[in-house]
């Protein structure tokens, strides 16, 4: 149990550190790691420790008492798949930003907000950046 807690906090800490990075790719990897940390939390929420396969004996109506909880495993599998899809999308997005915008620094990503004109009012959005 404590090993899972340590692993979870290590994942969350590494993820938060990377997600705060200004490098777009590191940021995506960080979010992905954060997701894995949360997945561990989800897995642990169903109580760890019991490891017997969750199979109902023939004739019985309930799982044996020492059976593992199968539900968090189903949940975490769903979360992993969704997280994987999001990470794939984000990696392609970072690549597209790098190729088309030529940026890898998130601080320089200011295209959608054109900034202030000399009169203190926002610049018009019409002209393509």
């Amino acid at each position: 149990m404590s090993a899972v807690v340590v692993a979870m906090f290590a994942m969350l800490a590494a993820g938060a550190y990377l997600a705060l990075s200004r490098d777009l790719l590191r940021c995506v990897v960080g979010l992905s790691l954060l997701g894995m940390g949360v997945n561990l939390l989800l897995l642990a929420s169903g109580r760890l420790g019991a490891t017997a396969p969750p199979l109902v004996e023939a004739g019985a109506l309930q799982l044996p008492a020492q059976a593992a909880n199968p539900l968090p495993q189903a949940l975490v599998l769903t979360a992993i798949v969704i997280g994987f899809a999001l990470t794939c999308f984000a990696l392609v997005l970072v690549l597209a930003v790098r190729l088309r915008v030529g940026l890898r620094d998130s601080d320089a990503l200011r295209l959608s907000e054109p900034g202030e004109g000399p009169d203190g009012k926002p610049l018009p959005l019409d002209a393509p950046p």
């Binding site: 999001l86 984000a90 088309r100 959608s112 907000e113 393509p128």
Partner: protein, 491 residues
């Protein structure tokens, strides 16, 4: 109330299945844009039909429910559509159809991509699922479906500005869903359940104080999703880069799904401690004020209206924080009103953009002379947003603020009135600049041939809907009141 039969029970999941199937077929026709559009429109019509059938069934039976696979309710993934959810689903379907019809006009059309329609229906499926599900983890899945579809729609245009916006939207919304997932894990760990009905019972046994940290986590996650203070930064950073019909759909559906989920969790499934609700009330006030002040800075119609979404979300959060039957009715009334009016304002702005040539208020004008009908239509919807009687926004704000005063929160009510006045300022700014003042270009005339027929039809249709809500508010209130009174928040 008679027990619904199997066919009626299936209606609970039909508003999810129809757009999912449409998305699949539309994706298969991605290479043939004409066919994809036809499939998409047919699917949207079917979605509206199914949503209205659900509304009718719910009016007869009180609510429809189904557990796919015939599992016992607490084990399987249950879908329950009660009157609150049915009204939200019907509004979502109607606005979805409106936005798809609007795409046939040439007012700020989305890029001609084969995947556009599949993504739009993916978004509608995600939203309908979030309104229909009665399972906490399933709720997370529908939010992810919405997020993926929204990301696709944002990135579809592929311009540098849109890619920039997509990245910001991605980072902040993924943080939101991770928080939601963590909250779900915590709630499951504390109660051992995911089904709403089972959670209601188990949550009452565990007690609100024990659940409070997990509820705070869920609240913050849904504040991200609904665009609440101080975690709304993704919204003003991304919305204005979308083409108008998609923007209207985003404005109508995404933030509202977040607010509705918060209403479900705080007002129905769990009973949060009073201090948490008090905090949510102040967050709501901060959301209102931040949104309306942020909007005042902008000169682009899309940006003014987009930042105003945040401000309006504040009223819905306030209604959620108040709890009780009247506040719940007010929250859903506000949601429905705002989905229709906000979407329509974006669509009317797109017509103005097509006619006057820009979204920037400093570069347009003269539309009152050229198109007085458009000016009146905008005024009708803008004043509804402000909350003038007898328009739909008046009743929405009236119900919420009356309940605020009845519960003795004078400061919150004063903030609500003040924000209404500031909303009037922003709307007057758009109206005076886009419609009243002469066009800055000398000798400007409206462009010759335009294809605005579908756009006009949609704008009038939505305006009619909002006007009907304003003239006959009791119909909606009566439909919602019995359910609102039976929720946990009504205790």
């Amino acid at each position: 109330m008679s027990a619904p039969g199997t066919a009626t029970a299936l209606l609970a999941i039909a508003p999810v299945l129809v757009p999912l199937a449409t998305a699949l077929v539309a994706a298969l026709c991605a290479r043939r844009p004409g066919l994809a559009r036809a499939v998409s429109l047919a699917g949207a019509l079917a979605h509206v039909g199914v949503a209205l059938a659900v509304l009718a069934a719910v009016a007869r039976h009180g609510s429809v429910r189904v557990v796919p696979g015939a599992w016992p309710a607490a084990v399987g993934i249950e879908f329950v559509v009660d009157p609150l959810g049915a009204v939200m689903i019907a509004t979502t379907a109607l606005v979805g159809l409106a936005c798809l019809v609007f795409m046939a006009s040439d007012a700020d059309p989305p890029p001609a991509s084969g995947l556009l329609h599949a993504l739009v229906h993916g978004l509608l499926a995600g939203a309908s699922g979030a309104f229909a599900t009665a399972d906490l983890f399933n709720l997370y899945v529908w939010f992810e479906v919405m997020l993926l579809a929204a990301l696709g729609l944002l990135a579809l245009g592929g311009s540098r500005r849109q890619l920039d916006a997509t990245f910001k939207y991605f980072v902040l919304n993924v943080l939101g869903t991770l928080l939601l997932l963590a909250a779900i894990a915590a709630l499951y760990g504390l109660t051992g359940h995911l089904n709403f009905a089972a959670l209601r019972e188990a949550g009452a046994g565990v007690g609100g104080d024990v659940l409070a940290p997990a509820l705070v986590l869920a609240g913050v996650a849904l504040l991200v999703k609904s665009g609440g203070f101080p975690v709304f930064a993704w919204l003003p950073a991304s919305y204005h880069t979308l083409p108008a019909p998609v923007l209207a759909l985003f404005a109508a559906v995404l933030t509202k799904a977040g607010a509705f989920a918060l209403l479900r969790l705080y007002g129905d499934v769990f009973v949060p401690p009073a201090a948490l609700l008090e905090a949510l009330g102040w967050v709501a006030v901060a959301t209102m004020v931040a949104g309306v002040l942020g909007a005042a800075y902008h000169w682009d119609m899309r940006r003014i209206l987009a930042v105003h979404i945040v401000s309006q979300i504040g009223y819905m959060l306030l209604a959620i924080a108040l709890q009780g039957p009247d506040a719940t009715v007010g929250a859903v009334f506000f949601l429905v009103h705002n989905m229709v009016v906000k979407a329509n304002l974006f669509l009317i702005a797109a017509i103005a953009f097509r006619l006057a040539g820009s979204y920037d208020l400093r570069r347009i004008g003269g539309l009152w002379r050229a198109h007085p009908v458009l000016a009146l239509l905008f005024l009708l919807q803008a004043l509804s947003l402000v909350g003038l009687p007898p328009l739909s926004g008046f009743w929405a704000k009236f119900i919420v603020l009356r309940e605020t005063l009845a519960q003795g929160h004078v400061a919150w009510a004063v903030a609500g009135f003040a924000v209404s006045l500031l909303t009037l300022y922003s709307m007057a700014k758009i109206w005076l600049a886009a419609f009243w003042k002469p066009h800055p270009v000398k000798g400007w005339t409206t462009p010759g041939p335009t294809r605005l027929g579908p756009a006009w039809a949609v704008a009038w249709g939505l305006a009619g809907l909002s006007l009907a809500m304003g003239l006959f508010p009791q119909v909606l209130v009566d439909a919602l009141a019995p359910t609102a009174a039976s929720l946990a928040g009504g205790r």
